[in-house]
Assembly symmetry: C2
Homo-oligomer: 134 residues x 2
């Protein structure tokens, strides 16, 4: 069972434009074409694309994903490079999660002040006072 570019776009919440862009940028080096020259995606290609989207959604730049794709295409002699790239990226993702959690706390504390109208009013006044005394 193969999929057209629009079916895949639908499945992944991307546009066909974006998929062609990824292909052009070298992120989809495995995608085959049918006799008309149209891209056809296999189940295996969907797995591949899922990995690409995972990297993209965790903030890896297109050019790094391209490097990763190139290494995969090259074969088993690049497994060390791929492993190192993913391990480095993993650290970045863990850091992102930690920072988001820290920022979430700040957002929550701000919402808490808004839940307490008296407190919020005081904070606003404090800002106001700070302004007028500079």
């Amino acid at each position: 069972m193969n999929y057209s570019i629009h079916e895949v776009a639908e499945k992944f919440g991307l546009s066909a434009h974006t998929l062609r862009y990824y292909d052009k940028e070298g992120l989809l080096p495995f995608i085959s074409r049918n006799k008309s020259g149209n891209r056809t995606f296999t189940e295996l290609d969907l797995n591949w694309l899922a990995m690409i989207c995972c990297l993209k959604n965790t903030g890896m730049p297109i050019k790094d994903i391209k490097q990763y794709s190139a290494w995969c295409k090259q074969g088993i002699e690049t497994i060390d490079e791929r492993k190192e790239l993913l391990q480095e990226h993993r650290k970045q993702v863990v850091k992102q999660i930690e920072e988001l959690q820290k920022n979430l706390e700040l957002i929550d504390s701000k919402i808490a002040t808004y839940e307490n109208p008296e407190l919020a009013r005081q904070l606003d006044e404090q800002l106001e006072r700070a302004r007028s005394t500079v």
Copy 2:
């Protein structure tokens, strides 16, 4: 104790260019100037900037942060709007964290295959075979 734009930039890991850009975009509506016309940041301004950076680093677009800033400047009559904006944004942040954690699992499983050379070799071969049979 007041701070110059470069001191603040240093503190926050931003450039003075970026801070001026934020000011121009309306993200720093409270910043005062000294008699020379230079921006001076108070401790209170640093708290404000920390909140702005928090929103920015959790993916809120500049234009939304600008709206939030405008509401803060307007005063206590906009507390409901601010609260709603932050609550909505909070949901987005929680979603981001969840997605990152899900993606982290996929990255970890991929790294795991690379830790196991035999498995990695098989996966590479599988891709290869898929290619040659289309």
